[in-house]
Amino acid sequence: MNLELLGITVLWTFLYGYLIVSSIDFGAGFFAFYARWKKKDHIMNDLISRYLSPVWEVTNVFFVFFFVGIVGFFPATAYYFGTALLIPASVAIILLAIRGSFYAFNNYGSRESMLYLFLYGATGLLIPASLSTVLTISEGGFLAVSTDDKVTFLAKELFTSPFSWSVVLLSIVSVLYISATFLTYYADRANDRQARRTIRQFALFWSMPTIVASLLVFISLQMHNPEHYNKAVTEYWWMFGLSLLCFGIASWFIYTGKRYGTAFIMVMMQFFFAFFGYGASHLPYILYPYITVHESVTNETMALALVIAFILGLLLLIPSLILLMRLFLFDADYVKGKKK
């Protein structure tokens, strides 16, 4: 495997990691707010904060990792995306900033506040929507590049494109779906039946919209970028097939109410196949049609240094992450709230 393919695979894996961990976090924020609003917070908000408190910072690092890495591996992305995305990316940063800090204000601060919780919940849905616009833009058609290389973002095109809205829709519903399936599992481990019952209903409720939104994305992609669509359905159809299969298995387990752990792994696999199938069929383009992985990759020395740093970093991170998970995710007493 050559360095640029290795690079983009590493970055894509991190983005996938962010997709899963941030979805749990974003969705949980929304559910926490919803539960408070419906005055059911005593049922599940303890559970949510027991999971989130030790891990929310780690979630954020996945994201930082991705954007630092992509500029490192593919510096041209800094120029195109950087110039074009000033406003949308700034909005996303501001939402992330509000969310992160208000989470801390609410959870570690003096008292819980409905306003904080609202901001936390609302931004949890707006952030995936704003971040997903980057993926939309990478499909091409939303940037104008003039002869002197000045890049302009065509906001109007983006706001009126059915494709962009279907991506936004998919990002929001899948956040809620992923989060609900994880929390069902977590509630089950905590032996918290009431919470499990509530969250399981969310999981079942959001499963159908997720599939419908995925189909919408496919249909609108066919109109927007036929080249990408064709590659997806001809070369990588089996990945999307596997994704659907995993969805079926996950839904079955959740519906029958057993093996929630396996169900969540199936949901992870469902998104893994869909996300990598989407990514693979998008190659060689990073930003259609301006940036490809081959032309824009950084020089070989740096790419190699990054890969080495990456491997060494993982040797440090994986044991630490396992420790974190053993302490807060797989420690039954902690999950049940008996340990602090």
Partner: protein, 447 residues
């Protein structure tokens, strides 16, 4: 001054960084203080110090949160506001940026564990051991990100050919000449400022009438640490000045209003420039600049006139130098005075003027920290990549920087105000004595 996208990009970057470094500095310094307090607490089996560590750690989570989100902002703004710079430099400095994230990741994991396992392990030392990866992570991320800034001051490890970087050596770029002095100075001042801020909080509490053992121990610990770190800072400042004299003479010359190259150069404290560019009202110490630059009163110091006019930094950075140095001296003197007075039984180190001076050293250190960074950054104007790329060539060509500036200004205003409110409430609602009683029912007051 024209508000074009270059100027606006500079303003937005300045604002973000000035806001972020407050929290970044706390992020580097406070874990060290927490580790020291918990260490003493376990060692002496003294609940006061353990409580101190706990309370600091709790406040720390709030500042970490703000530090994380503003750090994310500056990380993205680099590409958003300086796309041309990142396209070129991204190839050369991607490694330290990447490693900085790793260090931060490492810190984030262990901080999460530390905060939620206070009573979880049987051996007390196990929990304390968690502070080590936190300190390593936070200081390492300071180290890596500072190498990036050092690289912008003294770029090396590549050749530039038609706007493309070639022959790249990532390690040489990281270990550039400015790296050692910068890292030393950044880390020592972060420790010092954090200690001074914590000392200021305690001193204020004592002035407000809380004179328990808890407060007295906290004050002695924080002030002693602040003294040690301020001595380190002074040494680091000296190392930095010698480095500048040798490698980046135009920065030192502008900071010192040193125009003609000469041996036995005078140092200038304070003063103003009149309309003809002559120095007035200054305090002049003969030959001290030469000594600062090269450990001998006869060292030749290169003057600003050697630098082409369009490559000179603005002369107002001299004031930043004055602020930074005089505050540094003040804090060192005050903390030394306190430590000496507390050693002599007859003297009362808890007298009002001294306590007020300690209260002042906290915010003053923060001002010095900001002034130092302004000096370092404006001192390399007009370059973004000294000798290679000017700031004006690197900025975005987007027309939307103005509105973005306003959005972020509002964000930082809200975050700043909220942080202060939340922190004050957090500690007001749970006074130390009450918490001590609750957490350590036997021996709390007497130990």
């Amino acid at each position: 001054m024209e508000l074009d996208s270059v100027m606006l990009s500079r303003m937005l970057t300045t604002m973000t960084l000035m806001f972020h470094i407050i929290f970044a500095m706390i992020g580097v310094g406070v874990p060290v203080m927490i580790a020291i307090a918990e260490f003493i607490g376990i060692r002496k089996n003294d609940p006061h110090y353990l409580l101190l560590a706990r309370r600091w750690a709790r406040g720390f989570t709030i500042t970490v949160a703000v530090g994380v989100v503003t750090g994310t902002a500056i990380g993205l703004q680099l590409s958003l506001l300086w796309p041309s710079f990142m396209e070129v430099a991204g190839q050369i400095i991607a490694l330290p940026l990447f490693m900085e994230t790793f260090a931060f990741f490492f810190e984030a994991i262990f901080l999460g564990i530390y905060l939620y396992t206070w009573d979880r392990f049987k051996g007390k030392w196990t929990h304390w051991l968690l502070t080590i990866p936190i300190m390593i992570g936070s200081s390492a991320s300071a180290l890596f990100i500072t190498t990036v800034n050092a690289f912008m001051n003294t770029p090396q490890g590549f050749d530039l050919k038609e706007g493309q970087a070639i022959n790249i050596d990532p390690i040489a770029a990281m270990l550039n000449p400015a790296t050692p002095s910068k890292v030393f100075h950044v880390v020592s001042t972060s420790y010092m400022t954090s200690a001074a801020l914590l000392a200021a909080i305690v001193a204020f509490a004592i002035l407000k009438g809380k004179r328990g053992q808890y407060e007295q121990k906290a004050l002695r610990l924080t002030v002693t640490c602040a003294l040690v770190f301020s001595v380190l800072t002074a040494i680091a400042g000296d190392v930095s000045a010698k480095f500048l004299a040798e490698v980046q003479p135009e920065k030192l010359a502008a900071a010192e209003w040193h125009f003609e190259t000469e041996e036995g150069a005078d140092i200038i404290f304070f003063g103003t420039l009149n309309e003809d560019g002559e120095i007035e009202n200054e305090i002049r110490v003969p030959k001290l600049l030469s000594f600062l630059a090269g450990n001998s009163f006869d060292t030749e110091v290169i003057g600003l006139n050697e630098t082409p006019e369009d490559e000179r930094p603005p002369l107002w950075i001299h004031y930043m130098f004055d602020i930074m140095v005089s505050i540094g001296m003040f804090v060192m003197a005050i903390t030394a005075l306190f430590v000496i007075m507390s050693k002599v039984k007859k003297w009362n180190e808890l007298n009002k003027p001294l306590l007020w001076a300690i209260v002042a050293s906290g915010p003053l250190s923060l001002i010095a920290y900001e002034a130092g960074w302004i000096l370092a950054e404006v001192g390399r104007q007009p370059w973004i990549l000294r000798g290679y790329m000017k700031v004006a060539e690197a900025a975005t060509r987007s027309d939307d920087v103005g509105i973005t500036f306003i959005m972020f200004a509002l964000l930082y205003l809200v975050l700043g105000v909220m942080t202060v409110i939340v922190l004050i409430k957090m500690f007001k609602n749970s006074p130390a004595e009450a918490e001590l009683e609750k957490r350590f029912p036997d021996g709390g007051g007497s130990a």
